[in-house]
Amino acid sequence: MKLFSLLLPAALLAAPSLAEHTSNWAVLVCTSRFWFNYRHLANVLSIYRTVKRLGIPDSQIILMLPDDMACNPRNAFPGTVYSNADRAVDLYGDNIEVDYRGYEVTVENFIRLLTDRVGDEMPRSKRLLTDDRSNILVYMTGHGGNEFLKFQDAEEIGAWDLADAFEQMWEKRRYHEILFMIDTCQANTMYSKLYSPNIIATGSSELDQSSYSHHADNDIGVAVIDRYTYYNLEFLESEVRDTSSKKTVGDLFDSYTYEKIHSHAGVRYDLFKGGAEEARRRLVTDFFGNVQNVEVDSGKGETNASFEEEMVRLSRTIAELHKRAEEQEAAERNATASAGAKTEKKQQTRKIQHVAKPLTDDNWWTKKIVGATALAGCAALWGLGSYLESVV
């Protein structure tokens, strides 16, 4: 432990790039269905459009839509979803990938997605294939209450369920940092139970506060977007025009006011390493964009080595390993020398296996002398024999 605490700062100093993420993922969840909840789907789709604009590819966005507003017969503009009464941008457009739709959007599937506890049959496109270098944006919207969020009409996820899912992700090293964003009534209660590190959480409204819709489109006949999401989008559209933006998460959070949102938006920094100060310094594009650093495995500062040098190094390593093995063996022998007869026997039988050793150049002179002596002995025997014959 002591060693670890000594090593940690050293490692951090040695490799500043380690603290950064290498991939960006987004989990965008709408939890309500039915025509009059049009705005919740529009909320999610507008965030979807934003993260795509900032470069996160569809393969790294998990989009959950429980209903299909575009094809609802009540939709006066078939095949479209708009989040603004000006209807400038069709969010449903022609390039949209919904990963979980209809009744697939359940609490179970959501938690399985986060923790990656899925069966073999689950296609890769429906999995959150993150690692400990992934930054994840988790955006949720729907109808919520005190410490729960309703999923469709049948079930709900509790704040503790969510906290436990995030903890499991942390334990499985499935994220680097998470930005958790939620737009529901009493949204801030949803993140109150989180306890895993490296999470920045923000919500639209406090306990006992409603989250209001921003405006309705009188031709579609329903509210098209919620206030909190609307003003998030406004910031993202105007301040974060491309991935080079240096706007921080702190700037985004500072843009929330009661006058705009009509409820008290909340932020939670305490889970983040370095607290508020560090969390606020994170760029918006760290979560909404696809900006990441390249991490090169262990070869820091080393130039390209040729294949031969590589091989030499490899053989050296092998030799080193051998030597280490022998030393270990010797040490073992010493240790067991004083042991009982039985163990000695075992030691001997074991030694037999070790007899087949490669020839070495060691004791060359000794071996020569032995050989010469043997030859001389043979010659002497022969001389003695012929002398005795002549005598008889």
């Binding site: 039915f34 609802n72 009540r74 006066a76 006949g221």
Partner: protein, 601 residues
């Protein structure tokens, strides 16, 4: 605890306790009546609100207008040329128009007979299939050729045709739209709705050749007025006092009153200042209509089938034109179109006192229940009283031993039960007769019945006195049984048709306090007074108050009985009248023997 119990048991034998029930009963009636008059106050009523999230009333722009006005004018021309023609000729022309719009059409014949009259006709209807819907649900737009007052629906029919043409252009319907053009406002829609739900008598009403999905709502337009209007009158009373879901009324109020800026009136309160008297008047009118249980427009027949429906009647001098009326219907249909399931969120039991003020069943029900409870209290009281010996025992109550059982007089049940059963079974006669004689015989028959009704209690009383010489106990038991039944029926009825239960309860309240009088003078006075509250007398009085003909009232009742299945007549003849008869027999009763002791009892 045991002491408390024993003292409570002792209290039971206290003679003073037996004096309480009549006062308690009176108190119930008074509180029940006063309760009703408190309801219009702000403290007891509530503002209306939209409960169903899906409805979203008034959130859409309505586009009915512009060139549709020319279309409307053309249709109006066509409709005007049909005035005075036969039902079939009218339907031929209208069918060609509707077919021309690209809608599937069909016709349905019906024949009802009631009060010696025949109500026959042919319904024309058309189905606008939702272009992107799944044909599992439908909403209905109704225009009857003539309204309940038999005025020609001169603007309503062309407006419905224009709306059908306009709706056909939209692709956003999630439910089919059915256009129903019926020859009259009551029988036609009734026949059609019955047949739509396969609940019709096929000997009188033809089956429907084409159908759509489950009906989710209906709007009827009763637009007689030729000039521009100011406000919309919402008629919402259904058959047998059933009401449409309050959300539907609120939606129309929201769209017409809020979005379109029209006035909205209820219960023919053309000017409503939202003060106590106007609220009370609106509420009482609503209660009266609910109590009568008659169909009040083409929408009424839909409500028993759990299809929420209202009739919209433009009225007053203003600047709103047919297009504005069309936009109200468009907005309402867009709201109904948003529905995902049957209207169920809001109230089905309510009393409206202003377009934005109501009381729900939880608040108003206690008043009718208290009135009904007064009969039950008296019935139990009389049962107890009948069990006591008529001559108080020689031993005074103070000396009575706790362990000794209360002396119980033996009850002679046969005669009381026979009288109550007789009055109950006799009730079938007026019910049958008034529903089955021809119209011309109704008025003479009514006066004949009035006479019989006056003489009947006297003859029953004389017969029983002569044959059985009933005791005071038996009179008590007659009253007890009849009040028990009355209280039971009225308290059950209060949950179904509050207003009817309340009306009958208040009208029969005197029955709680009648008893055999010893002196002939007070007996006759009592009987005369009781006769003033008899069902036929009340009918006569109300006819006089509203300037109606008794024959017409009875005819309407008979028609309602046969066509729409109104059951108010059953309550009047089979619940109220027997109770009154039994009460009258009691008043005229001359208990055998004990004149002197009756006074004490």
């Amino acid at each position: 605890m045991p002491r408390l119990l024993s003292s409570a048991l002792a209290l039971r034998r206290d003679p003073r306790i037996l004096k309480i029930p009549p006062y308690l009963s009176l108190l119930c009636i008074l509180v029940g009546a006063v309760w009703l008059f408190l309801l219009p106050l702000n403290e007891y009523s509530r503002r209306t609100y939209i409960s169903e999230n899906a409805l979203l009333p008034g959130q859409v722009h309505t586009y009915f207008g512009g060139s549709d006005q020319n279309v409307l004018r053309a249709y109006k021309q066509e409709v005007n040329s049909l005035v005075g023609k036969s039902n079939v000729e009218i339907n031929d022309k209208l069918e060609s128009i509707v077919k021309g719009l690209g809608l599937k059409t069909a016709r349905q014949n019906f024949t009802y007979s009631a009060a010696g009259r025949t109500f026959e006709g042919e319904n024309l209807y058309a189905i606008l299939q939702a272009p992107r819907g799944d044909a599992t649900e439908a909403i209905v737009l109704v225009a009857a050729w003539e309204n309940v007052k038999h005025e020609l629906n001169k603007n309503g029919v062309p407006l419905v045709l224009t709306l059908a043409r306009y709706f056909k252009r939209w692709s956003l319907w999630s439910k089919d739209i059915i256009i129903l053009l019926s020859p009259d406002s009551i029988a036609g829609p009734q026949a059609w709705v019955d047949a739509y739900h396969d609940a019709h008598d096929s000997s009188r009403v033809a089956s429907l050749p084409i159908k759509s999905g489950a009906l989710q709502g209906a709007i009827a337009i009763d637009y007689v007025q030729e000039h521009r209007f100011k406000s919309v009158h919402i008629v919402y009373d259904g058959v047998n006092g059933q009401l449409p879901n309050l959300d539907l009324i609120n939606s129309v109020v929201n769209i017409a009153g809020g979005q379109m800026g029209m006035g909205v009136a209820l219960q023919e309160m053309w000017n409503h200042n939202d003060k106590y008297p106007d609220r009370l008047r609106t509420m009482l009118r609503g209660m009266l209509k609910q109590g009568l249980g008659l169909a009040s427009g083409p929408h009424s027949s839909f409500i028993p089938y759990h299809v929420d429906a209202v009739t919209l009647q433009p009225f007053g001098e203003g600047w709103q034109d047919e297009m504005a009326m069309g936009r109200v219907v468009e907005g309402t249909f867009r709201s109904l179109n948003n529905l995902l399931e049957h209207l169920h969120q809001s109230f089905f039991f309510y009393l409206l006192m202003h377009r934005e003020r109501f009381v729900s069943i939880g608040t108003y029900l206690p008043s009718a229940m208290l009135v009904a409870a007064n009969f039950t209290i008296m019935a139990i009281f009389l049962w107890m009283k009948s069990g006591q010996p008529e001559v108080p025992a020689a031993s005074t109550p103070e000396s009575s031993d706790k362990d000794a059982p209360t002396p119980t007089a033996e009850r002679d049940l046969f005669l009381p039960l026979a009288v109550v059963a007789l009055s109950g079974s006799l009730s079938v006669i007026p019910l049958y007769v008034f529903n089955h004689v021809p119209e011309s015989a109704l008025t003479p028959l009514f006066y004949l019945f009035l006479v019989i009704n006056t003489l009947l209690p006297i003859s029953i009383s004389l017969t029983t006195t002569k044959l059985f010489s009933p005791t005071l106990q038996q009179y008590h038991l007659v009253k007890s049984f009849s009040l028990l039944l009355l209280g039971m029926f009225l308290s059950s009825l209060a949950t179904l048709n509050f207003s009817l239960a309340m009306l009958i309860g208040l009208l029969s309240a005197p029955l709680s306090f009648v008893k055999p009088y010893s002196s002939p003078v007070s007996r006759i006075v009592g009987y005369v007074l009781l006769n003033l509250t008899s069902p036929p007398a009340v009918l006569l009085a109300s006819a006089a108050i509203w300037g109606l003909n008794v024959g017409d009232i009875l005819r309407e009742a008979a028609v309602a009985w046969h066509v729409t299945g109104t059951t108010s007549a059953v309550v009047v003849w089979c619940v109220w009248w027997p109770a009154w008869l039994a009460g009258s027999v009691c008043v005229l009763g001359q208990p055998a023997g004990q004149e002197g002791k009756v006074k004490r009892a």
